[in-house]
Symmetry: C2
Subunit: 450 residues, 2 copies
């Protein structure tokens, strides 16, 4: 029999990986809660019609569908066998958390008190070609608020990026912000309003292909030379956010929508200036455009500096998310943390904590039946004190027991032989240093308290 | 446009439900960790061949399969159209956590140090006909240890049931234990070894159909009258575990396998007697047989007393789990918590805590721009102290803001008007009592610390 395996693009997570992933998820979750966001969960499966047509043609192709069953399936196969077409699936796996969230809000609108601040941390599935860092099953971590157009949420979400990534001890990261209205303003004042998408898709690539590359792509996309000349100064805007803003306001002074975007951003800048950030750099990037078709106001992106890993977070405001399900005029703004990329950053910078609340802290070595009986009593006390602990299940060779403790990353072992039982003591051996101490059970608990 | 909906048998979880579910999962998870179990996760999708044939014919029918895509799908459809058969799926959704765990152990056997104590809390999918309390997507919470036949794990798993359910404050519950070898012994001494399955399927129903029902079913299943007469006394064995054991030993004295089962159980009884349990009743139930085909040693079941909800936990020892994937002789023992049923028990007995660490504790009422600026500063301090808090995003009518705070179960609101700003105080209103206090920001933090 050949060794079993899993579908390509999917992953098993071992205990060591799980502990690290949970550290990331727990940090994100706690920060979401600190800001008043509440959890929801939606089913892995949605109806096919809920998902299809929401992610473009490419997206539709990448949606995993669930094969129909029973009589429905038999009928469908009969149809196909006789040359007709037939539906083979009624359910599909969720492709992101945003469309299910929109569906949730519309379906439960009468039970929700708006503004609705929700977070959601669940896996999504995409039949993408697997490659390094791209999986067919991965977690998204989203926080959104819908039912309010208050810019205080833009402020709060910038703080939330800062909160999470500071708590994860990422030493150097930049939160970039822009506003779709600024981009519309640029298209307007350059006389290319009808080519807004083309223009911003090109500008958005500045980081990757440089100014010359962008100019080339703008030309290819049919932007006039005159417009390009006006756009070019944007590529090397430097200085503080307020200096950049001064230049942008000058350029966009004739555009109402552009000035509206500037006003929105200025509100956020003023608030963040006054509140301060814990460790983030905060940068107005007029070329930032991610997901443009979708966002209508603020646009966010976060990058860890000094590592060659793309953006680790994103987000923005969308004015019309729920209208796809028949509920118009519900403004929302949200952010998303890329757990897999954050994992890579923490690993590359060696930022994962050595032990977490999940670590097993103590193992009683098993010297035989009598000793094990004694240890089982001590073990119960240790666990009662809230210390993660266990006993090796049989009186195997010392080396084997120590190998087990080592491989599991256990912090200390308790050695209890005849002498220890007589003296009512425990020999505590710390795994990293090798130090040994003769202690009472109370002293042991004090030493290992997490 | 009609309101969107979700596939039948699936559920959305609202924030109120999520908080309660997380309370259950967190309690289970912490206890698993306390006992040295480590988390793993496996993909939602397994290869079809990994799952098929592992759950019987009925199970095979209930497995959700993923429709193939692209060229593979086109080819399959062509085949069907020309009257041939074709495979339409290569992946399927996991049906339980046990088979994926067995697959995991075999696939990663060279990276695992045995005994391997793992827990896994993930959803599973079954295309069962949905009904009250039965869903097509539900979570399983399993802890298993493989690679050891030490009975200390049976002892530990009984303690773990007790730990989790005591921590959930369930006031009255019974952990039932039996052993497959006792059942084999009964079959042997009654001369019905070849009808072991039939016999135990019938006996297992004692709770539901009573002694007369069991006798009827035994007869229908072809058990001899003589055997039934020998079995009948088992239906009303009463007394302590050791009294029941005395009777069972007497009956099974001629059966080696029966006596082996009795020895195993006696070890567990002795240990549990000596260690004590926090609040569980612990009962030797000679008629307990759940999942018999599967278990080879201990069999566990837990029921909450005084509520008409079936068993809330189960488990047992299996000697041959991984041999289906080509790795024989790996003994294991495991338990499973039924999260949905535990939810129903806690709800029926009103045992859910009113607030958890996820509750938003404070909302700043928004009286306008100036006040909001002041509140944003105070809010940052409150959050820095680790208190979940938010500000209402606009200066809406007081009633609207209070309705929002109420519906979200927020514990207190902070009222900051001109006077409060002048005096550098905050009026703190506790939502439940309606009490108001004029406090400094430090006093507010002290009052709300979680």
């Amino acid at each position: 029999m050949s060794k079993p395996s899993i579908p390509k693009g999917t992953r098993d997570f071992s205990p060591a990986e799980m502990v690290r992933r949970n550290y990331i998820f727990d940090t994100i979750r706690k920060s979401f809660q600190l800001y008043g966001y509440q959890p929801i969960e939606t089913p892995a499966m949605e109806k096919v019609e809920t998902l299809m047509g929401k992610y473009g043609e490419e997206g539709d192709r990448l949606i995993f569908k669930i094969l129909s069953r029973g009589a429905k399936m038999d009928k469908a196969l009969d149809k196909i066998a006789s040359g007709e077409t037939a539906k083979l699936a009624e359910e599909a796996l969720r492709y992101d958390l945003t469309v299910p969230f929109a569906r949730y809000v519309v379906q439960h609108q009468n039970d929700i008190t708006f503004p609705f601040k929700r977070y959601q941390i669940q896996p999504v599935w995409r039949a993408d070609r697997p490659q390094r860092g791209r999986y067919r099953e991965f977690f998204q971590c989203d926080a959104d608020v819908v039912g309010s157009d208050s810019l205080l949420f833009e402020v709060e979400l910038v703080q939330l990026f800062d909160e999470v990534l500071t708590n994860l001890n990422i030493p150097d990261f930049t939160i970039k912000i822009n506003n779709r209205k600024i981009l519309s303003g640029i298209a307007e004042v350059t006389g290319e309003s009808d080519k807004l998408i083309d223009m911003t898709v090109a500008i958005d690539k500045l980081d990757k292909i440089g100014p010359d590359g962008v100019v080339k792509e703008l030309t290819e996309r049919g932007i006039s030379d005159q417009a390009i000349e006006k756009i070019k100064p944007l590529f090397d805007l430097k200085g503080t956010n307020s200096e950049v803003m001064t230049a942008v306001r000058e350029m966009l002074s004739e555009s109402d929508i552009g000035m509206a975007g500037a006003d929105e951003l200025d509100f956020v800048f003023k608030q963040i200036d006054s509140l301060g950030l814990r460790s983030a750099k905060f940068e107005f990037d007029v070329t930032l455009a991610r997901g443009l078709n979708y966002y209508t106001g603020a646009i966010f992106e976060v990058k860890a500096n000094g590592v060659s890993i793309g953006s680790i977070c994103g987000g923005g405001r969308y004015d019309d998310l729920t209208s796809i399900f028949g509920l118009p005029n519900v403004s929302g703004v949200g952010i998303s943390f890329g757990a897999d990329r954050i994992y890579d950053v923490l690993e590359e910078l060696e930022l994962f904590p050595k032990t977490t609340s999940e670590t097993t802290r103590l193992m009683f070595v098993n010297f035989g039946e009598t000793e094990a009986d004694y240890c089982m009593q001590a073990l119960a006390k240790v666990r009662k004190a809230g210390i993660n602990a266990e006993i090796y299940p049989s009186a195997a060779k010392m080396k084997k027991q120590m190998t087990y403790a080592n491989s599991k990353g256990i912090l200390a072992v308790a050695l209890v032989g005849t002498q220890e039982i007589e003296e009512n003591k425990i020999t505590l051996k710390l795994m990293e240093s090798g130090d040994q101490h003769s202690v009472s059970i109370e002293e042991l608990i004090e030493k290992l308290k997490q």
